[in-house]
């Protein structure tokens, strides 16, 4: 094997790989597909200096984007001016770039457009692959994937068009979705597909068009022909979901929604709901032989929408079989010139052999494979699904199906791989407990992973008494398996999980009460805001399953919502910081306030041990000097302390209470009896 490996590397290095039939390569990591997810994973593997290869059937990366979206405008935001220099923060508003350590390897290098042209994306991907020297093999069309069990464990064997086999210890499927989703109904053969329609609006001049679907591709299509078509109707089973209401970027984006306008202003366009299985698209039978030939052909070109219950059989129907015959005001009683199917895409399950079977997930109409919370195939250990195909985990809720989301889940998967196969624990940062507050605020203020992958990725903070370990961006649905996946143990001090969440209430999204400002009402926040969960141990699988309705995590021991913020800057001393500090104090059961050196001096001399802050700072000779003589500010601190401890003045530096109570006086002269 070693020889093979060496040979393989040699071949790759010399760049003239010519696989002969039945040539057998063994590779540690195979990444299937050189789209954004595949390249993203390739980057992490390359950075970790793993033995990997990215296999791509086309001649360049991101080939999906050479064709789609058909109207060539990406709707992923490319915000290049944010007023900030923080790279991490800026990724919150850059939906196209992939993650890397290179500060300049960003999408903005290829386009400055807010909604960039689709051609820019493969260009960006090619640049990404080249500059990071990712090992991609183009022109390898894997047609069959099977699992092989051997003494050394399970591996996956991929067979390409030349019958070359690639044996992979770990298979990372990043093939995306490119099989158009279809629905079987009578007359579905009369329908054109989004993948092949003309994108020239003039081809739709004065035509009545019915579009099946109400997603972004359907609306994008409708929008492009609005100025030419006579009528555009859109049909699907469910009503339009607006992304700005659902916070789900896969729902209809405002950039595509012009048809809503023309519908509501009664400009001949419209939306209707029906299950596709119940409709029939049909041509009309010739009525009788009296009609003259010319008319006949014209009518034959028209497509009618009727319902299965009126139709006997076939996609050529009589007048009696039309819905309008039964209901004289049937909405779509007039015929269409074209019917276009825009129902999205599905995962290509067909290449997976029974041994490497990926079952379809229950959601997403079975279009996506089912995966575990850490994106591994349910019954296919060592096979991970990345990219859009991994979206079944957060379908219709978060951003896992989109570049700005799955770039982070790819990183999470890579960390799982490093721990599982190489014993490298998830990266963590060890912090003094007195530094945790500021660190959480830092993450809350800039972290892009939990921000984009809200409710899916969360920071896990392992409390360990005087210090803690901070683990970033863990897939929180996998929390029960945290220790084995991350390699970090949870101590008896418990753990915190920091997640970004939207409110779950249906509200008037532009109405007056859409946002809360009072921090005590933070749990009613509607916009994205940080939420912290405190557990004294890892939740179990069962607790995870039975979590409260619409919650990302089970009921914790303590919960803290940070009030939503208009500027998404959660650093207000009163509204954000102090409530968070008190929550942390509750979780670690320690006073986490900071004290000036003179207070620490006093507390160190009057107590067995001073508060944690004094222990971690002042006693380490890093006390905080009071600058000049500051007037006594923290009245409250003094009052509370004095009340609770009923002892001598605690925190009021200016006037100790015993001076007031006792009749003693400070004798300024010395009474020496020497």
């Amino acid at each position: 094997m070693d020889l093979n490996l060496l040979c393989f590397i040699l071949l790759v290095l010399t760049g003239c790989v010519r696989s002969s039939p039945n040539h057998h390569h063994h590779i540690e990591y195979c990444v299937l597909g050189a789209g954004p997810a595949g390249l993203q994973m390739g980057y992490f593997l390359s950075k970790a200096q793993r033995h990997y290869i990215i296999l791509e059937r086309n001649q360049g990366p991101g080939s999906f984007f050479n064709r789609y979206p058909r109207h060539r405008k990406l709707i992923s935001i490319n915000k290049i001016y944010t007023g900030r220099q923080n790279r991490e923060f800026n990724l919150r508003h850059d939906w196209n770039s992939l993650l890397s350590h290179e500060p300049d390897l960003l999408f903005k290098r290829v386009s400055g457009e807010f909604y960039p042209p689709a051609d820019a994306f493969p260009r960006y991907l090619a640049m990404f692959a080249t500059e990071l020297s990712l090992r991609v093999r183009y022109g390898v069309d894997v047609g069959r994937i099977r699992a092989v069990q051997s003494g050394s464990g399970r591996s996956y064997v991929l067979t390409d068009q030349n019958a070359s086999d690639y044996s992979c210890s770990v298979l990372l499927v990043a093939t995306g979705l490119w099989v158009p989703q279809t629905v079987d109904f009578v007359g579905s053969d009369l329908v054109e597909g989004y993948e092949s329609i003309s994108t020239n609006p003039d081809d739709y001049r004065d035509q009545a068009v019915l579009i099946l679907g109400k997603g972004n591709s359907a609306f994008e299509t409708a929008q492009s022909i609005l100025g030419r078509a006579s009528r555009v109707h859109m049909l699907s089973s469910s009503a339009v979901r607006l992304a700005w209401q659902t916070h789900y970027v896969g729902d209809l984006r405002a950039v595509n929604n012009e048809l809503l306008d023309t519908y509501q202003l009664k400009s001949l366009d419209g939306l209707v709901e029906a299950r596709l299985e119940k409709i029939v698209i049909a041509k009309r039978k010739e009525q009788n032989h009296r009609s003259c030939g010319r008319k006949k052909t014209e009518r034959n070109g028209k497509l009618y929408l009727t319902l299965t219950k009126y139709v006997q059989n076939g996609s050529v129907v009589s007048g009696e079989e039309l819905a309008g015959h039964h209901i004289d005001n049937f909405p779509t009683r007039k015929p269409y010139d074209r019917v276009i199917r825009c129902l999205g895409f599905r995962f290509n399950f067909s290449v997976f052999d029974g041994s490497a079977r990926l079952p379809p997930s229950e959601n997403a109409k079975g279009r996506l494979p089912a995966v575990t919370a850490w994106y591994e195939g349910e019954d296919a250990p060592g096979l991970f699904v990345l990219g859009t195909a991994s979206h079944s985990r957060d379908y219709r809720s978060s951003a896992g199906g989109f570049v700005h989301g799955f770039r982070y889940t790819a990183r999470a998967v890579h960390r799982v791989l490093e721990q599982r196969y190489h014993g490298n624990r998830w990266p963590s940062i060890t912090l003094l407990t007195t530094q945790l507050l500021s660190w959480i605020l830092k993450r809350v203020g800039e972290a892009s992973g939990p921000y984009q992958m809200f409710e899916v990725l969360g920071d896990v903070i392992l409390l360990r008494g005087s210090h803690c370990d901070y683990v970033e961006e863990f897939p929180i649905q996998a929390l029960p398996q945290f220790s084995s996946l991350s390699g970090h143990e949870v101590s008896s001090h418990g753990l915190l999980v920091l997640v970004m969440q939207y409110g779950k209430k249906k509200i008037d999204y532009l109405g007056r009460s859409r946002a809360e400002t009072d921090w005590t009402k933070a749990w009613r926040s509607n916009f994205l805001h940080p939420v912290l969960y405190f557990y004294d141990r890892l939740p179990t699988d069962k607790e995870m399953t039975l979590r409260p309705h619409s919650w990302p995590l089970p009921r914790p021991r303590a919960l803290h919502h940070m009030i939503e913020d208009f500027l998404t800057e959660w650093d207000g001393p009163v509204s954000h910081v102090q409530p968070l500090r008190r929550f942390l104090e509750h979780c670690v059961q320690t006073d986490l306030r900071s004290f000036y050196a003179d207070s620490c001096f006093r507390l160190s001399l009057t107590h067995r041990k001073p508060p944690l802050f004094c222990r971690q700072r002042y006693l380490q000779q890093q006390g905080v000097a009071r600058r000049h003589r500051q007037p006594q500010h923290a009245h409250a601190a003094g009052l509370i302390a004095a009340e609770r401890q009923a002892g001598p003045a605690q925190s009021d530096p200016a006037f100790p209470s015993f001076l007031a109570q006792a009749e003693a006086s400070v004798s300024s002269g010395l009474k020496l009896d020497l």
């Binding site: 923060f89 209707v272 909405p331 605020l441 320690t590 001598p648």
Partner: protein, 852 residues
Amino acid sequence: MRCAENLLSIMWMCIAAFLLGTRLGGCAETANTSELIEFAAADFYEKLHSGKMMFIYFEYKVSPTISLFLVELEKSAEALQDYGILVGKVNCNREVVHTYCTDQRLMHSVFLFRGGKEFLGLDLDTVFDVNSIVSEVLFAILREEVKYVHTDTDLMAMEKAARGKKDIVLGYVHSLGTQEHRSIMETAYVYGSKYQFILITGGPVLKQLGVNESSHSSGVWFLHCRVHSGFTTPMTSERCPVTPMRKPLSTLSLHSFLQLIEAPLVSEVYDDPSTVQPPQFPYQHTPQVFLFSRPVTEHLDLDTATALAWRLRGLAQLLLVHRQSPAVKTPDEYNVAYRLPEKSLDVKYLTLHNMDEVLELFTNEDKAEDKEEGGDEGLEDEEDNAHSGELDDEVAASVYENRGNLLDSDLFTQIRSDNFHTAVARSGLTVVLFYLKWDAVSMAFFSSFIDVAQSLADSEVDDIQMGSVDCGEWTDLCAAQSGAALPVLFQPITAFPTVLVFFPQEPVLHYRGMLGSEALHRFIMLCRFAAPVLLSRQEEVMSFLQDESSQAAGYRPDRVLGLFKAQTDIGVSVFTEAAKSLRGEVMTGLLTDGLAEKWAADHTADLPVVLVFPSWRKQTHPSSLPVSSSAEELLTHINDARLHPMPELTVENLPSFLSLGKSLLLLFVGEEEDEIGHRQNQALVEEMKQVVELGGVRMERYLACWIHLGRTPAGMSVLGSYLGSLPPLPALVHTHSLSGDEVYQYPPSSPIVAPSVLQWLQRIEEGTETPAGMLVEDTWLPEVEFYDFLKIIDMQEPGSAKQRTPEGEEDDNDEEVDEDNVNVEDETWEKAAAVPSYSSAPDTKHNTHSEL
């Protein structure tokens, strides 16, 4: 009371402001931000002769006690202004006001002038804060109006005199000069013409009132001596009927109480209790009791109500509801109703058989409430603090208070990811502060950092560059991932603030000293010296040991000299490594060859040797240390040698001495006023050294040290905390013993001499001394309870935060949209389509959008 009416309105404004959320104190105190008025002698005389009331301190010398007093005096100025009293000081150092400035004995007093002459002198011991100043001054002014009563007989006489004329307000304060005392005096000033105010001192009078003196709580009683027409029972007794005030004594509660006493005894209403308005300002917290009246028994009912109202006076308002009114809906079975507005606005209905039950209801309720109230009110305060804008973190609070001040960072370079390397390379020494804007400690230190930059700029030090990195913005730089080709020179920053010092071609130095301008400045100045300084000539060594540049800055650094036979000596590298980590803290020098031989011989040491010259020791007597095999070991030795054996503890150096883990033998000395005092203090310190020497081995587990309360005022509260009060100085205390938390005080009456101190320590060890106090054992649990969102959610949306039960286990996140059966009915197509978004049911089970 000339201005009583005016004042009354002012007070109510205060109270109104209080109710709007401002502190009462805020109204009286914080409005005035001006300095204490200083009167010139001429001014003083002019005001004096105009007959104005003045409260003046004649300032001669300012000790810590005096400066504390002056702060309080300033605060009281605004409060006393409301009573027409001018507060100020006269600076005797500028101008002499005769006798007041010349008689030393008067220095410890403050004077009240009235009608052109001295009215009263108050000893500073009795006026130590705003409350004591205001109460004592008003007490003096109201000397005629407010009577002091010591015995019950006196009180009886007063009652007799007041009968039919005036009601009496009787106050008891457990100690004078407290906030309670002040509240009574302020109220007396306002209501003095209306009521007779009497102050009692406890003892027999309290007993007469049925109060257990040991409870020690202040209180107020209202004595109804003026005959009230409402009285059904004639006043047969000698004594006036008494209504105790049940709320804790404060100006606000006392006003409300007196207002409530004045309120009509019984109000008659024709509405149902549930629709009767809750009590209005200022009674909004007063419970309401409703009795019901029928036309037949109207008079009788009113009598009953009045009788009950008397018993409930000060406790609740009584309302008589006329049942004949059609608006009254209360069922006949109920004869009493009440409302507790503090708890809820709901009216509760009861059927009671006699009036005592009503009373019981309230007195018991009251007791229960009292109990709760103690807690409640505390909680409320706490709530206020806990959940309103008050910051309870002293550093955060001071940073927040100064949030209006822009931090002027022109003095130093803003370091970014992209200019880091060029910026650091630009200068011989670059001091960089890594900070987070939301980290209070960072921002508190930021100001000190600016101060240092300013003072470096002022002293024209130009080889040092100061810079700062905002880690909220340059997150990659702070994480030590520059992304640039050049390597990052430091570890990721995970603690804020962090100060790093960069030298060209040398490893980065981590600043580990106090976060204050003085310490940082000292560190930077010392960093300018090489570590170690290579010395090759006698003059260089001399100047190394006596460098003036650092002395000029006001401090003397410790110096360490490494003496080696040759540069090639293996010890040199160990020493150099130790020297590098001491950079900024001490000055290190390296001496080799012949000169080293000479120096070693001078100090009767053999090469190689390390000489430590602590700043506190005479230069001729350095400690000599062997060169250890490792730098860490050498460092430990050097640091031990730097520690003073009998140190003066300061805020800055305490940690290094506490870390020795020894028992403390702590001498507190006061501020010297003159040369004699200074010598005495020195003698004391010398005597303590004697203790150490005389004690020998026995003293090894003790650290003998002293605190100068003038230089380290924080020591005052330490001493106060140990002993419960400030003892006369000097005071010798034994604390932080290895075995227990007891704090012992050396008998204040015995002279501090070494042998008796040792005997005293012996007695402590033998357990025959009684401790004077205890160290506080504190687990440092959170000061304030957190805001429990789970509890709030459980209350406001019951069940929504509960774990689901296994039956309801269906995964509702994974809704299946297209399977649902919506709008297939042809007729409703368009209708449904016209209701976007909510009409469809993406989830077959819940018929709602789960993501909405």
